[in-house]
């Protein structure tokens, strides 16, 4: 590990560092000490000194000697680290560095040099980095793309429910991006990330997702620019500057609303915290040595403290702080857990709950905020207990007294949690004046249903706690591989499978009688199939990030159009070949856009009148079935308008005026280029291009789209895709002297027809009645100009196929068998021969062509039209 890497890891630890968390501080200390060693080894004395000083500061904090408040320490450290980075990267003379004075280094206060550095990094606009960095840059871009996806996911989550952890995670990502882009001297990205990180600073409990989304978009554009795919994006630094005075999101007019909404989040989150504290306390009661529980309780109070402070809720903050201090002593073995301490903590929980209740009333009714009656007494009791450990702490500020008002617990589980505690503490409670009134009120109900089973409940709780596993993050090791190499490997595996089949099916092999030898050969076959499976699975990626993009698109469109849309995603863990996942995005975007823009009704009144929920609903689902992937997009909007589509199609000559097409045929007209029924063109959709793109893209992936729609009830688009592009399951058929492959995805069944089943219908050629349906017959022999092929369907076989809802019967000579084949491109010369989607190498070594069922149907239709 070189020094720069070490610094990277230090700054990472620093971001994650929590001054009140002992172990995080020790690891930080170790990092600094390690860096000091490295600096000494590379003869960078100043750096070594500075890191030694930093380590000393951390040590002071850990050992409790620190006089200053702890938060600035982290600031000092991060400043130091960034100076280190500057020094290493730009080869600055370290003696010029302006280390924070707190480090106690007597460096010259050379502000000029730092400002010079700053100027350089702040330079606006995007510069192309040096070519030397190309490799690192590639890695960076690759990694950053993933991180941007993560950012988007987190932002979407934050929009739904503001969560401290998500914000922290966002901050971490931006910080890493900042560091990496700084390393590559991508100053524009670095600056933006830096500013974003600032905006996400600890106190900022709310974030402006709109701006962050913009930042994310800008970053993706910049990445594209660096990978040479597009123009340099305009700088967006201005979005920060424009409202940099206000705290980003608290735009003055809606401060109150936002704050109240966030307070709501805070309350519900805090209540969850209290629930978990209850559970953990119960565990502690039976097992006082369970350090995990202490830590969990500590964490709950700690995060409440932070959040409360940011809302300026001093009561909660003080209460949480005092309790935390007490717990800290236990954690550091200065105090031992006894019944009294557990009671105190239980009381803290109770007080916290009642304070939160007051807060809730305050938000909902606007009544002045009240304070829990017992607070002062309780605080001093905590304090007293803490003092027993002989350590002095700053006394809490006095707080006003307010009337008490406690609602009964809402949920049964919550009651259950309170009950055993009430029983345990009943005696002390009574001695404790006014708080008991509250408890009796609660108790009256609780005793009736709770006391008898108190033991059972607490047992249950303990069990529950045990079952709740400590979250373990198992980081799977991953290797980045050039996708070209991977393709080559998959190709070669395909060849291996073919070669294996060739050997196994060769005549010579059939003559061998040795059972032992045959066993070995079949073992070989088993291994090669296994390799094939592994090979295919290597290219498989979950649809997750694609679906997430869709969530973003729905959000954007619904904002633009002002429609309320509830977007539900399921099955995003379904895995697909990377090539498919990469190309499925566009068609999905078009379908989803249409669903929101055209499908969902514009005003909610119309929806209500139709008996639907006010919010429009759009579902995106993915699932596996029969070796295929189904992706479904469903909306509960207006549905497709049959008459309008037909009128348009007749107008454009796609349909004869007197024809009576089936529903399926009408829906497939939607995919015709230029056909649109939208009255007005919006910037979202309406040009009639989208659905054409959908069809082309999906067919390029050898998939199909199906539409189901009921006017007034919404539409469902079903996309069916093969699992992978490289290997398909196919039926081998014979037409004349040649072998062909029909993808099994399109095959419904095969039948040997009888004469009466075949009828000739005027203008529509030969028809075949199959399960009371009349299907057009396509003579592959004629289509392929194969003179040896049979012209009499009764002598051959009819394969019933289906594509995009259209069915037909293919007349073939023989069904040879079913194979897994590796499909290969026929090359550029065959661009016009679109009857085939590719070729497959058969076990015989010959090439069999793979039919493109969609174009077979299309060409047959064209031929029919010509004949008429």
């Amino acid at each position: 590990m070189d020094m720069e890497e070490k610094l990277e890891s230090i700054s990472e630890t620093l971001v994650l560092a929590d001054v009140s968390n002992f172990s995080s501080m020790t690891s930080l200390l170790q990092e600094f000490e390690a860096f000091e060693k490295m600096a000494q080894e590379s003869a960078k004395e100043i750096l070594a000194k500075a890191s030694a000083a930093s380590a000393a500061l951390i040590w002071n904090l850990i050992s409790g000697d620190s006089k200053g408040t702890p938060t600035p320490l982290l600031d000092i450290l991060s400043k130091t680290v960034s100076l280190f980075q500057d020094a290493l990267r730009k080869d600055h003379d370290p003696s010029n560095l302006d280390f924070p004075i707190e480090l106690g280094l007597k460096s010259g206060n050379n502000s000029e040099s730092t400002s010079a550095v700053k100027d350089k990094t702040d330079e606006p606009g995007t510069r192309m980095p040096d070519s030397d960095y190309q490799d690192i840059l590639k890695d960076f871009i690759f990694g950053a793309e993933g991180k941007l996806e993560e950012i988007e996911a987190l932002l979407l989550k934050c929009e739904k429910k503001l969560d401290r952890e998500n914000i922290q995670a966002l901050k971490r990502i931006f910080h890493t991006l900042k560091g990496e882009s700084g390393l590559l001297e991508l100053s524009a990205i670095e600056t933006i990330c830096h500013k974003t990180e600032d905006q996400l600073s600890e106190d900022c409990v709310t974030i402006n997702t709109e701006i962050l989304f913009q930042v994310k978009d800008w970053l993706s554009k910049s990445l594209l620019f660096y990978s040479g795919k597009c123009e340099a994006p305009d700088s967006i630094e201005s979005i920060f500057n424009s409202d940099s005075d206000t705290k980003l999101d608290f735009s003055p007019e809606n401060v109150i609303d936002v704050e109240f909404e966030l307070l709501g989040f805070f309350i519900s989150e805090s209540l969850e915290h209290m629930d978990s504290v209850d559970a953990n306390l119960l565990t502690l009661e039976t097992n006082p040595d369970c350090t995990n529980s202490i830590h969990a309780i500590f964490r709950s109070f700690h995060s409440m403290k932070g959040a409360a402070a940011s809302f300026n809720l001093m009561d909660i903050k003080n209460l949480a702080h005092e309790t935390e201090t007490l717990l800290d002593k236990i954690r550091n073995n200065e105090l031992h857990i006894n019944a009294e301490i557990i009671d105190i903590v239980f009381d803290s929980v109770d007080l916290m709950r009642s304070t939160l209740d007051h807060l809730k009333v305050h938000i909902e009714t606007g009544e002045p905020l009240k304070q829990a009656r017992d607070l002062v007494g309780h605080l001093s009791r905590i304090h007293q207990n803490a003092n027993n450990a002989a350590r002095d702490d700053a006394s809490p500020k006095a707080v006003e007294k307010v009337e008490e008002k406690k609602k009964l617990g809402d949920i049964l589980i919550e009651k259950g949690i309170v009950t055993p505690k009430d029983v345990d503490v009943a005696l002390q409670k009574q001695a404790e004046s006014k708080a008991s009134g509250e408890n009796k009120k609660l108790g009256e109900l609780l005793i009736q249903e709770g006391t008898v089973s108190a033991k059972k409940i607490s047992e249950g709780l303990r069990k529950q706690f045990v079952q709740k596993p400590v979250e373990k993050v198992v980081v799977k090791e991953q290797v980045k591989v050039d996708s070209e190499r991977l393709d080559k490997l998959v190709d070669t595996i395909g060849e291996l499978v073919i070669a294996e089949a060739m050997v196994r099916q060769s005549d010579e092999m059939q003559q061998i009688r040795s059972i032992d030898f045959k066993k070995k050969v079949s073992f070989l076959g088993k291994i090669s199939r296994e390799i094939q499976n592994i090979g295919t699975s290597m290219r498989m990626v979950p649809l997750h990030s694609t679906f997430q993009k869709m969530a973003r698109i729905v959000r954007d469109i619904s904002k633009k159009t002002g429609k309320l849309v509830e977007f539900t995603v399921s099955g995003e863990e379904t895995e697909l070949d990377k090539a498919v996942v990469d190309r499925i995005g566009d068609p999905l975007i078009h379908i989803i856009r249409n669903a929101v823009d055209h499908g969902i009704e514009k005003n909610s009144e119309a929806r209500k009148a139709a008996g639907k929920a006010e919010k429009g609903r759009v579902f995106l689902r993915a699932s596996h079935s029969e070796g295929k992937i189904n992706i479904e997009i469903e909306d509960d909007g207006r549905g497709l308008d049959k008459e309008k589509i037909m009128a348009k199609a007749i107008e454009r000559g796609l349909l004869k005026p007197d024809s009576q097409p089936s529903d399926q045929e009408i829906w497939s007209l939607v995919f015709e280029p230029g056909l649109t029924t939208a009255k007005e063109l919006t910037d979202i959709s309406g040009r009639g291009v989208g659905m054409d793109v959908v069809k082309k893209n999906i067919e390029a992936l050898r998939g199909q789209v199906d539409i189901k729609s009921r006017k007034g009830h919404g539409s469902t688009f079903t996309i069916r895709l093969p699992l992978t592009l490289a290997i398909i399951e196919g039926m081998e058929i014979r037409v004349g002297s040649e072998q062909y492959i029909i993808p099994t995805i399109s095959v419904l069944s095969s039948v040997r027809p009888k004469r009466p089943d075949i009828t000739t219908v005027a203008h529509r050629g030969e028809m075949f009645s199959y399960r009371k349906q009349l299907l057009p017959l396509i003579h592959l022999g004629k289509l392929f100009v194969e003179p040896e092929a049979t012209t009499n369907p009764t002598k051959g076989l009819i394969v019933i196929i289906e594509h995009n809802g259209r069915q037909a019967g293919l007349v073939v000579d023989e069904l040879v068998g079913k194979h897994q084949v590796v499909i290969k491109n026929l090359g550029e010369l065959f661009q016009n021969a679109d009857l085939f989607s590719g070729g497959a190498i058969m076990p015989s070594g010959n090439v069999a062509l793979v039919l493109d069922i969609g174009s077979v149907l299309d060409i047959n239709k064209k031929n029919e039209m010509l004949n008429n």
Partner: protein, 178 residues
Amino acid sequence: MSEAAVAENVNEQIKSIEEKAGKYLTFQLEKEFYGLEILKIQEIIQMMNITRVPRAPEFIRGVINLRGKIIPVINLRKKFIMEFSDDTQRTCVIVVRFEHNARQVTLGIVVDEVSEVINITGEQIEEAPEFGTEIDTGFILGMGKVDKKVVILLDIEKVLSTGEISLVSKVAGAETST
């Protein structure tokens, strides 16, 4: 055209002919000798089973499996509108590889017989004869004259992009006249 321009034109022609000098693989088609730049040739393989591709352009005979890769095989006889003849023992496939539209293209050419690799100098090369507007000779790099034989040097990329051409008789006629 001014004299200077003519002189420049001639210079350019000489220059381009100089560039065309080099090693060529010659093969026979209907008793005619043709040459392909050796640098574009990947290998020569024996005749193998060719899968016909229905509805493809007629000069494409089909596709073959070249060690796991599917490549198209073109029939120069069809391209040059020669009579179809059955494959013989000597019939083989020349696999060429070149860049077309910034993509690597590999394809096979069925020929009656592969002759030899010859070295053709600039002096031995003459410009492609012109047969008037109805016949495009753009696919001919030049005419090489070696040992009293005339070798038609083909520009394989252009062979694929130009339509089918009745070449044989015209070239034969041109040959006798020179």
